[in-house]
Subunit: 200 residues, 4 copies
């Protein structure tokens, strides 16, 4: 089984990123003996604006898209700006829009039998909303969303320090991260044993 | 296996309701030989405002709540006013908030191993947003949301007739309803064969 | 000039309510020498489900609606459950839906030249989202929404105590409340001096 | 008085764009004798990801930002993908996040006394949600949002043709565009006569 973690931070490598920190916690836990996990920081792979799978010269999105069909588990990690999914996350969701019309060998939606979850960071507020927004888009392309597959890490109302500068909130982020990976593993294995068929 | 369809229309029985019409299409298809489906029009069972399971005298919500633990499949059907989940749907989600702290015999969240989907009607606009909002709340209490479990039926921008008065949109509502029930059945059966455990 | 504050808490009087506490701070500041402010706790006035102004016998919504045309300033105060506007707030917005077709003596939308803001409380998360949702609905009926007319008071991620039990967050709630009332007064007075006309 | 229309389509010039078509209708109407209107297609000016006003070499966002302080009226036009603001719109809102801490000569928020509206296009669904999302972000930086400043143009549920290929919906887009520009002009002039002060 394979997992792909797409970090949608606005910060290019190697700048430290709270979203990278949380995504790493999730990726580490996802990597059980039989789950190979890859991570990518999307902002390092410039994707042209558009709603197609391949936008031609210079477009790096195909390098992300090519990993999707083989990944039974997908995690989208995003910061919240301002209280909404990052533009890097939204760019990825737009590019995935093309998958709504892609099918596999058995004429099922390309993302059928895939499970997905969302990991969230931010200064202040907006976690549940952004989780709903991104989960909704991933369900639109066909992914199954396990319950409570949503660790989030932020510091409460008003301007304040970056999560990385604070200890507060880390324990909750780790425990919700554990719940997320357990639920992602569980549903992915259940669907591997008993896959969904093409809709009649 | 059991299914529960909660119709969150604002209209009390026996007033005709587009949401009732769509919910009936979904319920009929859910009712395969081994799936017993119950339907309830929530506005006929007045639920007190609050975030508890039982709000005391006169509160009818427990009559809905008692069917939830036994229902492997849950469908919430709602109109969109104005572009948001109905107040009846929101009342139900608030009452279900208490389930976030309820557990079953194996110490799992009460809604663990349950699947849920959303059926939407409305005049004009707002289907995807309302689906994300309600799905997000159901995932918060622990339900797994299959991909594309979202039939919707509305007529496009601007004021206009009620869906019930129009033929337009019915075919799409039926086909997305079929996809929804197939996906709900599929994921429910996969989780019945291989249930999620309590998170470590 | 008149102002109306509608508290959309789920708790009936006289139960203590964080939303009532924040609404009172806002109402007190709104009440300058020439602004008469009324407050109402909507859950104490049971409003039937529906999208009309008067739903007949036993429907208390008209007692709220009748204050709206005379109120140049409207504030909707709501808790967030779970991360969305309360069902009491949503019920009010549905009942206000009828105002989209109501006009005044000069054929302008009934809510034209009215300004509105949103005050938010909650345990954990969801302030900006709920503010956008409620503000969007109020703009749909024709209200003008001043910038930053949104005090909010919650305590950060994860389950925790009620706001009323904590000192934390009160200073920010008060300062954002002051900004809100200054902006509501300012825009209301500007529109009183130079009202919008019916659209050509 | 000046107005700025930012078209957040995903399509680079000179590709035809429904959002460009609607934005042009709005811009033409905004341009009364005393309102100078500029339009920009944001995707033609690549803006680096981030939440600062100037992101250094190669960053074109400053060329948009420099027009903002002088523009009493701001319109953000966006397509909806998939049912959410475009990544180009979200990128602009993230870059405007820095304006939350910028002030003018009188110590007021930089966007104080500015009015803003949203123009929307899309295939299918999502107009009201995207309007709320973008309006909410613009109110966060301090803009005042007039009621009903939201023309939208889409074609109803399900996949279908691009708006540009259809006559349907154009009349409604034009009439809501007229209402938008009348309300933007009206509130902008009211605030020009009686500006908001710095909050006490």
């Amino acid at each position: 089984m394979k997992a792909l973690v797409i970090n949608c931070t606005l910060k290019k490598s190697p700048e430290p990123s709270a979203t990278e920190a949380l995504a790493s916690v999730v990726a580490a836990r996802l990597s059980e003996p039989d789950v190979r996990t890859e991570s990518v920081r999307a902002v390092d792979l410039p994707s042209a604006p558009g709603v197609v799978t391949d936008a031609g010269d210079g477009d790096a999105w195909p390098r992300v898209h090519e990993r999707l069909p083989d990944s039974e588990i997908l995690v989208v990690a995003s910061p919240t700006w301002p209280g909404r999914p990052s533009s890097v996350a939204q760019r990825g969701l737009e590019r995935m829009d093309a998958m709504m019309s892609e099918t596999d060998d058995e004429d099922r939606p390309a993302a059928c039998n895939r499970v997905a979850g969302v990991a969230l960071t931010g200064n202040e507020d907006g976690a549940h909303h952004v989780i709903s927004e991104i989960s909704g888009a991933l369900a639109d392309i066909g992914c199954t969303i396990p319950g409570r597959a949503w660790p989030y890490w932020h510091l409460g109302p008003g301007p304040g320090p970056d999560c990385l500068e604070e200890q507060k909130g880390r324990d909750r982020a780790h425990s919700t991260g554990r719940a997320m990976t357990d639920n992602l593993h569980g549903v992915a294995r259940a669907l591997a044993d008993r896959p969904l068929k093409a809709s009649s």
